[in-house]
Symmetry: C2
Subunit: 401 residues, 2 copies
């Protein structure tokens, strides 16, 4: 029995369904994907049976400067040497807040938390606190966390938990305008993602006109434009992701990559929302933990030094071009969507995902960790050589189909 199967048997006894959430291979991935990993370094992961993978998931986003990045680890360790938790935060919280508010155009203040769940929820609380209004518009199909208001799919969630979160269609100006009209006067905010990165679907870049229209609607309603930059943040831009469209949110939610895997999330806000933020009681036992803040400062420095979005884009484009060429040559229609830094790769006419699953399983056997229906992620630890090596693996995977 493999180590992975042995651990799975043990895990099934003490973890519901064998594993919970997005890291469950049971419900999320086809056969053959490892449920447990024993080592991570740079852009590589090793499963518990010693199989090595070039990783294109980056732990679903948090890893952006390499697993076990020595600079980030050293920064966190230096902080741990003096203080990690106390009865109040360490000075590093001020340094990180100063760094982020300098870096992110719209941000005048910061609050730190642990997960994307926290930051999207806190944005809503602050938006409602300022507005004294109830409705927060969310895009149909978008993911903003698994907490009740954001997971209307969950069995047992009463409709009251999400009745004040009316849905609009992303990139559809007419539709969002219509939904705003319906709830006009009671709108506290509109939540948008960096782009349409709904899992299981071809990704869709943001139409700049849509971004501008949402901004105008928020202004018109005196509501908060809330950018959920948890998943895409720091990969598309070192500013908030809609900055490239010239559109700035009032509140932005961050998580995943900002600490290169140390657990930290952030809520950033504009001046007009500061007072509401100050009078909204939001907290968590570990939201003040210092080591992840030190890790975040170091991560942000690395991203800036290496001009991460440009570098990641080039790597992503190299991967995309390679996949395109291979798919063409092997006679497969592969639709690659979303920005190159967050590649999504799905086969056309593959409704039951058979082909996508088979391809990813074959790539996995070649040491390339791809995801068949979720957007993937690139990191600064990937080199051109890694991409080329991965493409050798996908070439063999295509050949085996």
């Amino acid at each position: 029995m493999s180590q992975n199967d042995e651990l799975k048997a043990r895990g099934e006894a003490v973890i519901p369904g064998g594993m919970y959430g997005h890291m469950s291979t049971y419900r999320m991935l086809p056969e053959g994907y490892p449920q447990y990993f024993q080592r991570g370094e740079g852009c590589r992961l090793w499963d518990v049976d010693g199989n090595e993978y070039i990783d294109f998931m980056c732990s679903y986003g948090p890893m952006i400067a390499g697993y076990a990045n020595p600079r980030v680890r050293a920064a966190a360790d230096r902080q741990r040497e003096t203080i990690d938790i106390g009865n109040a935060p360490a000075p590093v919280i001020v340094e990180l807040a100063e760094k982020l508010t300098r870096q992110i155009s719209h941000a005048e203040w910061a609050i730190f938390a642990k997960n994307g769940n926290d930051s999207t929820t806190v944005c809503n609380q602050i938006a409602r606190g300022r507005a004294g209004k109830r409705k927060i518009l969310v895009a149909k199909g978008a993911y903003h966390g698994a907490q009740p208001w954001a997971s209307r799919r969950t069995k047992g969630t009463p409709e009251e938990d999400y009745m004040h979160f009316p849905m609009y269609r992303f990139n559809d100006i007419e539709n969002v305008t219509e939904v705003v009209r319906t709830h006009s006067g009671d709108i506290a905010g509109i939540v948008v993602s960096a782009f349409r990165h709904d899992a299981g679907f071809h990704q869709e870049l943001t139409d700049p006109d849509f971004a501008k229209a949402v901004r105008a609607l928020c202004d018109q309603e005196d509501a908060a434009l809330i950018l959920d930059d948890v998943r895409a943040g720091m990969r598309l831009s070192l500013d908030a992701s809609w900055a490239e469209h010239g559109v700035h949110p009032d509140l932005s939610a961050w998580g995943k990559a900002i600490g290169n895997g140390e657990p930290i999330a952030a809520i950033l806000g504009s001046e007009a929302w500061r007072e509401a933020a100050a009078s909204t009681f939001v907290t968590g036992s570990f939201w003040y933990q210092a080591a992840p803040m030190a890790a975040s400062i170091e991560t942000l420095s690395i991203l800036e030094e290496e001009n991460a979005p440009v570098r990641l884009k080039a790597l992503g484009q190299r991967f995309r071009d390679g996949i395109y060429e291979q798919a063409q040559r092997h006679g497969h229609s592969v639709l690659q969507s979303g920005p190159p830094v967050m590649p999504t790769l799905m086969f056309e006419d593959d409704k039951d995902s058979k082909l996508g699953f088979a391809f990813c399983q074959a790539a996995l056997k070649q040491g390339v960790f791809l995801h068949p229906w979720h957007n993937m992620f690139l990191s600064l630890a990937h080199t051109e050589e890694d991409i080329d090596l991965a493409l050798e693996g996908t070439e063999r995977a295509f050949a085996s189909l």
Copy 2:
């Protein structure tokens, strides 16, 4: 200008209200409390101006085996050497789930998260998922996190967020029975705390008859008894806190102390709730992080080796006895409530908290960090000598009143 004041000035520019949540001295504590700390070791904290304190807050609970405990730190570091985050968890998640389900009587499975917020919310989701019912009863005044359903005080939170959380009075069998009768047939769970540890009030131990009555009501309604053991967990007992009353919950929420400050929370459940847990999608980017799990295993081992609840109780009683004697001698009526391991100290006839504030401020100047209106915490890093040294400080504080 002191370092603390300098940092506060900088912080006020980039953090709403100067600081958010329970670690804000601005809204939570009288003048003189440091907003920033630079070092923690054992049971001692040093503020950014170098003042040393014997700490009775333990970071509001997480610290239980000493700040910078070398064994816990080493366990976390060993895990970081191989893998902390990946595309799936490390084997340590199984080891921790096995350890907790062996240790906690009612627990047959575990899910890990980051904060108490997460664990109480996930308990609700699972309770509702199994029952297909909506109401979760909560005790009036109890704290279960700052997320919308648990913070009806927050401005802007629509009533729909908490309308399915009817309130009962803790320790009042007649009242909870009445509230159950009102919502009978639609009750998914009843949330209880280990004891009544509402901030700002004298604490109240759990009446064992109340505990048994709540258990019977849950059985009668086929609803989950949800124990929020986030704050008290592992200090009163190495089992779930109501085990001493012979009462076992169906779901329990853990956080704070289980990792000695490394960020980890847990949801533990009985067999009958496993299926519901398996079919409820709950997750967070960092819920699978391995280092805090390794830290938690080591922390739990230390707590068991040192028989933490017994040891902490003796330390707490020593502190309580000392304070009692001093208060008597100085002619002050001090009411000490709650279990000795989580001391709460308030003056009688002190409605505006003037006396309590003055006493705690005086103690702070003597290097003793007390809280004037929140329960405090003891740790294994406190020695008899530390308690006696702290009592020398409180003696001078009483004398100065």
